[in-house]
């Protein structure tokens, strides 16, 4: 049992690339759920089309890298419009149903044998990220003794936090604009906004597209830092974890999802490492009939599910949020 080691792993992960992926995904969800009150349960679908937008256009269609980036933004935009058109006029559950269903179907399509030539089957696609890697200005890694990052990760982290900062800036600027105020009033009372002559459907659609594209960016970044896109990475758990990250930090706050993602990933990787150490070795601390190595990686997800429920019940505003802002109900 090495608590220093657990702390090191947790801290390293909390600032590392995976936490950034969740931060970006949660920023997108924040635009949907926090500001507009839209229930998107398929953020993993937006992330998947973002990632595959890049990978397919570079690897399969043999287009230049930057064109691939363009498609990575176009794909979530199109997905948002397809999902928004039928559901945004209806009650909130319909968007939730359509998004969670489409994210599962997209995962099945991307992993299907029949479309292996396009999407690479369950092995996914690789070999699109060299242009991104070549931009790496660092010559070596970073070593602060306690935490250290390899050269690749250092570049990933730099790019990632810049992207997070840019997204936060965009969200901050938009949400203090008149446009953002309309979004928030839609969340509070849709009919009141409609009676003031605003086109609620159009505003919701814009919010869905914006949040979806930030989700696509999360997928794109995920694909770049991982150098491979694999369909199983984009399952519904990803969406649920992003919701947990968002709710920890506090919805409807610009920095809520970012802080939430860092804390969430700190706890998640800390717990992962803790239970992994508890079950490691020939004579583990926890008896193997209770928990083995494979099971030890699942405990944290059980706890995450529990945390998501308890957060929503007892502290829906998270750490920074305002309870009044998140008292969403109705449609």
């Amino acid at each position: 049992m090495d608590f220093l080691d657990i702390l090191r792993t947790a801290l390293q992960q909390a600032l590392g690339p995976t936490a950034i992926v969740y931060a970006l995904a949660a920023i997108g969800l924040n635009v949907h759920f926090g500001y507009t009150g839209l229930l998107n349960f398929g953020q993993s679908g937006f992330m998947a089309v973002g990632a595959y937008g890049l990978a397919v256009s570079v690897v399969v269609a043999d287009l230049p890298f930057w064109v691939g980036i363009f498609f990575a933004f176009l794909a979530p935009l199109v997905l948002a419009i397809i999902l928004g058109l039928p559901t945004l006029r209806l009650r909130a559950d319909y968007l939730a149903i359509a998004t969670i269903a489409s994210s599962e179907v997209l995962r099945l399509i991307f992993g299907s044998v029949e479309m292996k030539d396009t999407f690479g089957g369950s092995n996914g696609l690789t070999g699109y990220s060299s242009a991104y890697k070549d931009l790496n200005p660092y010559s070596g890694g970073l070593d602060w003794g306690f935490i250290s990052y390899r050269r690749d990760d250092l570049w990933n982290i730099t790019v990632g936090w810049i992207l997070v900062a840019l997204c936060c800036l965009v969200v901050w600027a938009l949400m203090r604009s008149p446009w953002g105020r309309v979004l928030r009033s839609i969340r509070e009372d849709e009919d009141a906004v409609r009676s003031l002559g605003k086109n609620v459907f159009a505003y919701k659609m814009q919010a869905l597209v914006l949040g979806g594209m930030i989700g696509g960016l999360a997928g794109l970044y995920f694909a770049l830092k991982q150098s491979s896109v694999v369909p199983t990475d984009y399952n519904t758990n990803l969406t649920f974890l992003a919701y947990t990250a968002l709710l920890i930090g506090g919805a409807a706050r610009v920095l809520g999802p970012v802080v939430g993602a860092v804390i969430f990933w700190f706890l998640l990787s800390g717990l992962g490492e803790f239970f992994s150490q508890m079950t490691r070795g020939t004579d583990p601390i926890l008896p193997s009939w209770l928990m083995d190595q494979t099971q030890s990686s699942l405990v944290r997800f059980i706890l995450t599910g529990l945390a998501l429920m308890l957060l929503m019940i007892y502290r829906p505003q998270g750490i920074f949020g305002d309870r009044r802002e998140i008292a969403i109900d109705g449609r």
Binding site: G37, L39, F41, I82, L83, L85, P86, T87, R89, L90, R91, A92, D93, Y94, A96, I97, A98, I100, A101, E104, V105, L108, I109, S112, V113, E114, M115, K116, G121, S122, N123, T126, S227, S228, T232, T236, T239, F240, L241, Y243, T244, L247, T294, Q295, L298, F301, I302, T304, G305, L306, L308, M309, L311, M312, I313, A327, I328, D329, G330, R331
Partner: protein
């Protein structure tokens, strides 16, 4: 009519030469361990499972077994995570590169066997392979019985797929009824519903394999457990939330947390593998005129029809059914007319979860048990209730039959069978565009 043939599926797991050799690396896995890790990121240290699939009874001119090309093989870890997939080539060979040593399960996709070849009903499509890096190459071979099926015409395929669509639709209908009952009583779209389906399969497996009950008794016990779980779930989680005045949107987020929680618990306790019950796993189909059904399939169809009929009649005729419909129509008015809304809702949870559990039991008997059984069904259940109309009993039934048939008939018209669920999503999106309240739903429900 059916001639029995024997084929040999030889699975060889070994250390192969580095990446470049993969293309040619075929029948005899090289025993020489690779000295340097290959460059490719996906390939890890050059480990792979090599599979040779051949039909031992049909020999080529050289006297070697006839290879079976075009068959999909999937490799999964014990966690159920897919790590590789390959299709056998003209020589019946496939290589699936792996990242690390460990125990893997190789699964053969029956749907991709060439026309005229069918697996014998007594054999499994899965094989567990243990790979030890640095050790001697492991050779595993296991025989698979193959029976030559008559090449079927389009009309026969259509009939077959409609029949299996009806069967599958009935399983979906049980779960959809459960979802609709709960939605009707509480207004909550329960996103943890898939995990309740999974529970049906998992608990049946425990009763059957660990407690030693016969499958039928295990299934019945599971339905009872599901009903209890439904009661407990309402008592512990949802009723306090209603008391607190938690909004529906907040409850939906609670339900995804609950889904993640339950799914991880099933994976923790049940494991990631796909397992089978101890009886009725494979049964040969018998012919009834143009329809071919195995005994267990007939049982599944009968059980679902009987249960669905009883539930529908009960909803129409009994006091409880009328109370449930009244609460679903207008909870405030029902409460002021002296109905105990809370106990009606509690009954809806009990009945709904029991029906969903039964759906999971039948799904387990129909195919296999895995912790992901339910999450894959969830999409179909949602599509079914949306198509029929959220919260309506007849709508759930009708929608499920349509979805079941669309999903199963799709492959006959060229929809790839591994993504046949796509049809359900298309139906879902279309119905939301054209008639969002669903075919039998009412306008005021949609918001």
């Amino acid at each position: 009519m059916v001639s029995r043939l024997i084929a040999l599926l030889a699975v060889t797991a070994a250390l192969l030469l580095p990446v470049a050799a993969f293309a040619d690396e075929t029948s005899s896995p090289s025993p020489s361990p690779s000295e340097s890790a290959p460059a490719g990121e996906q390939v890890g240290d050059g480990t792979a499972i090599g599979v040779t699939l051949s039909n031992a009874s049909e020999t080529t001119e050289e006297g070697t077994p006839e290879p079976i090309p075009g068959v999909t093989l999937t490799v999964t870890t014990p966690d159920g995570e897919e790590v590789g997939e390959a299709v056998t080539d003209a020589e019946g060979k496939a290589n699936i590169p792996l990242e690390m040593a460990g125990t893997y399960t190789v699964t053969l996709d029956e749907d991709t066997l060439p026309d005229g070849t069918e697996l014998d009903s007594s054999t499994r499509t899965e094989l567990e392979v243990k790979i030890v890096i640095g050790g001697r190459p492991t050779f595993v071979a296991f025989p698979i019985g193959v029976q030559a099926a008559e090449t079927t015409g389009f009309a026969q395929k259509l009939v077959d797929s409609i029949v299996s669509g009806i069967r599958f639709g009935l399983i979906v209908a049980l779960a959809a009824l459960g979802l609709s009952l709960i939605f009707g009583a509480t207004g909550l779209t329960n996103f943890a519903h898939g995990e309740l389906i999974t529970m049906g399969g998992v608990v049946t497996y425990w009763f059957n394999r660990d407690a030693g009950l016969p499958v039928i008794a295990a299934g019945a016990a599971t339905v009872v457990v599901s009903a209890l779980f439904g009661y407990a779930q309402d008592k512990v989680l949802w009723r306090p939330l209603r008391r607190r005045g938690t909004g529906l949107i907040a409850m939906m987020i609670v339900s995804i947390g609950f889904a993640l929680f339950l799914r991880s618990i099933w994976q923790y306790t049940f494991g990631g593998q796909t397992k089978t019950l101890d009886a009725y796993t494979t049964q040969a189909r018998k012919s009834y005129g143009p329809i071919h059904l195995a005994d267990k399939e007939i049982a599944i169809i009968l059980v679902s029809i009987v249960v669905i009929t009883i539930v529908c009649v009960a909803m129409m005729k009994t006091r409880l059914g009328k109370a449930m419909r009244a609460v679903s129509d207008n909870p405030a008015l029902s409460a002021s007319s002296g109905m105990r809304v809370d106990s009606v809702i509690s009954n809806a949870w009990i009945l709904g979860t029991a029906l969903t559990g039964l759906s999971g039991v039948l799904l387990a008997v129909n195919s296999q048990v895995s912790f992901q059984n339910g999450s894959r069904m969830l999409l179909l259940v949602f599509a079914a209730v949306t198509l029929g109309g959220l919260g309506t009993i007849w709508g759930a039934l009708f929608g499920s039959m349509v979805i079941g048939i669309v999903v199963e008939v799709g492959p006959t018209f060229g929809v790839p069978s591994s993504i046949k669920e796509v049809g359900a999503l298309v139906v879902l999106i279309l119905i939301l565009l054209i008639r969002p309240q669903g075919i039998l739903g009412r306008r005021e429900r949609i918001g």
